[in-house]
Point group: D2
């Protein structure tokens, strides 16, 4: 069975790859794009996109009125994404949303709408299946190992440390273990910062070097053994598997899932 798809945000870096992916999957069919430019054109007319005779709309309401689809993929920005998501549900399409930054209120509203329409909806801050599994496994392992440290490594153009993924991983771990002040009770930093950032007694270390992309290793230790879960991300290609999986999965869902960890 073919799944008909409308995609919003086809010119962004993620969007471009997603248009390519959808057009190459035999079970998927791109039936329209929503773009804040290029209304009235076709996908083939937009530089960098594949030569498809697929209409482009600037206005989501118009698009949803004219074209019917099973799934709506949104890769735009939060404000627009929120509006699109609601509109898609109201028009009986299942949203798969890569836009992050929805407020709790907005998420609640989407959740209710999704439930009342009995239509699946996936909002995912991270479509990299490997990263999501790394977090899920870490949360599971934390039940059996009371000690854990996180090492995340990124290119040296990254501004914030620790990374968002590292903090989220730590939060998930916190949900499945009791607080533990790790390391020797009397340990001492002879140079400040050596033991890294502390969250709930566990430690996070941020490495920044040219030649790195995006990597994270979660290391659990107990007497006589360590268990490590590591994700290495090379480029945005890694998100396509997650979008593909979400499109297939959302067809069988009847309510909102926030985060891919809830469908894996």
């Amino acid at each position: 069975m073919t799944i008909n798809i409308i995609l919003a945000g086809p010119r962004g870096r993620m969007g471009r790859e997603a248009v390519n992916m959808v057009s190459q999957e035999s079970d998927f069919k791109l039936v329209a794009c929503i773009d804040r430019k290029n209304g009235g054109k076709e996908v083939k007319d937009i530089q960098g996109l594949p030569p498809l005779h697929v209409p482009v709309y600037e206005n989501a309401e118009e698009c949803f009125e004219v074209v019917k689809a099973d799934v709506f993929i949104d890769l735009t920005v939060p404000e627009v994404g929120y509006y699109h998501t609601k509109l898609a549900l109201e028009n009986n399409m299942r949203p798969v949303v890569g836009t992050t930054g929805f407020t709790d209120e907005q998420l609640n509203e989407v959740a209710e709408l999704s439930k009342s329409k009995k239509l699946g909806c996936i909002i995912a801050p991270n479509f990299a299946v490997g990263a999501v599994l790394m977090m899920k496994f870490s949360q599971m392992a934390a039940k059996y190992f009371s000690d854990v440290e996180i090492i995340e490594k990124h290119h040296d153009r990254k501004l914030d440390a620790p990374s968002g993924t590292a903090k989220k991983t730590a939060e998930l771990i916190m949900q499945s273990r009791d607080y533990k002040k790790q390391g020797h009770p009397e340990e001492e930093e002879t140079i400040r910062g050596a033991r890294g950032a502390e969250m709930d007694g566990m430690h996070i270390h941020s490495v920044r070097l040219p030649g790195l992309v995006a990597h994270q290793e979660v290391i659990f230790g107990s007497p006589g053994q360590t268990l490590s879960i590591k994700h290495d991300s090379l480029n945005r290609e890694s998100f396509m598997d997650g979008i593909k999986l979400s499109v297939n999965h959302v067809m069988d869902m009847k309510e909102l899932a926030y985060g891919m960890e809830n469908i894996l």
Copy 2:
């Protein structure tokens, strides 16, 4: 609540550590040992064991008749272990068995006995929680990644390659994915063996070096990302956490679990 424990095989390498562990846990109490030597002595009289006034029996029947316990830990050899396990269940104790090598028939018999007595029983070829989680996570990840290779590393006194754990991991992965011939369809080994051992289209590599102990890494790959799950084992201490966990867990069970993966 204190869990009373009888332990068989206190002089083996695992047994010795287990006696120590049990005697140090505040919720556990060692009430007797079964040893094919030293009947009539106390644990304190056996070299290498802690100074405990705990009786040692050569005969399991006699022991079970005189001493009552909640859990029976067996760290002996298969034939003896099988006999002990049945006897323990019949005497209303819950067995935690580290002995491997039971036949299918023996396992079935124990399973039935356990069920009819409504008593938990755990038989585990591997008590290292980290190794068991590595296998479990690998099986889960295989649903989302069609490509995987296994690298296992051991000291150079190991005779067989690949390791038993590597083969077991591959078998578990096979259960959650379809056959896939990995690598380039036309790939060529210019030196035989370069691509490792093949199981179901996946590849296993066995490294043997002095300075290593027991390590395994399972690497999943898909476009743009890899996910790696690694276990490093240093010594038998790593099994104690698993035995401890099993003793606690078996109290709440009502039938046989074969392999710790079924209780984690």
Copy 3:
């Protein structure tokens, strides 16, 4: 002091990056390009190249007659590269050649010419400084560790296993150690290939997965310790540092160096 540079092969993947690199280095000045197409044009007229008013020649002889330079970078193919290299030396320029595949005879001829002209010349099969250091350090470590295995990992579109770098590393190690049949003398493969490819008693393992690029780890082991040297390559950018280094270094040389390991 500015180093004037002529570059042959500006449209290849390496060439393009090298043109960019040279044009961005403050001490380097691109004074001409040699291309088998585009004679008479300027670099700025060639798609994908930076907007430089630098002349392009189809004929090397003509180029060398008209334009004088300190260093000649060749990123073409072996036959052409060999001819270019000799011509450059005869015209008093120092060649830095990324083209591989010269015959021994050709190498000898270039070596003699370089020596008689007292002009430096670098021919390098691999400009990735990290890969060259990995090989150099491996050769050094092999003097102190009798046991070593190599794990190389590449994307699954690679045809040959083991990789050329792995074989070259093994050859360099062979030069600094005596033959040693590694592993347990009675070790057995229960699945053929588990112990990898064997060279001089050491073992090489080739992993192929989507999501990988080009990686190699050389692991030395002795009782109680292991020493690992690992190189991870992401893309061709990694070669630019090596070309830069070679251009600077060749100015102070008076003869041929084959392989960057001889100038590091």
Copy 4:
């Protein structure tokens, strides 16, 4: 040719292993031990030592007067070690000293005495060949990579962070590169300590977990590539190779070498 050896400190953890190692090497011969207890006994009479008919002296002067040896191994404490080392040189033996903590003045004195006697002498804070090579290679690589971070991992009973080896590595790297403030100029720690300890613009991260022993990885990065040098130490066995190497090497030396890096 057999090398006759006197060893001081046979009952310490290092000493015990060293006595075993010396007694097993076919080219080495243990001719006496110096111990602050057990004078007049033989090695075989001391618990935990092999059954050797080798005399034990409490007094070094007496020992050196009676027994002649080629090499003197000292595994005691600084004050005693310093005194022993001088005395050994004066008695025409070559010292191999694992005792750390000599003052600069003491080192100078030993250096002069060694030179005037034309006798080799090795004082090494670390006999693990792998650790010393890791530091040496790191210093070499720092010439070609301007960015580097160090991750050191130890068991969670370690008190100080970063480790002494990590600091020493950083100091060696500082000798072969110019100061560089690494990471993004505007990077920000959202949790303090995330970016680790800073030395000369490079960053050091200290991981502490049960199940670890002593590990260090030095990671160099440049555009498109990383080079990593890693040492994993399991136990004191790793020092024996270094002592063996030093004993052989000191025979051919004519002055003091401080640190094994100077003989590798």
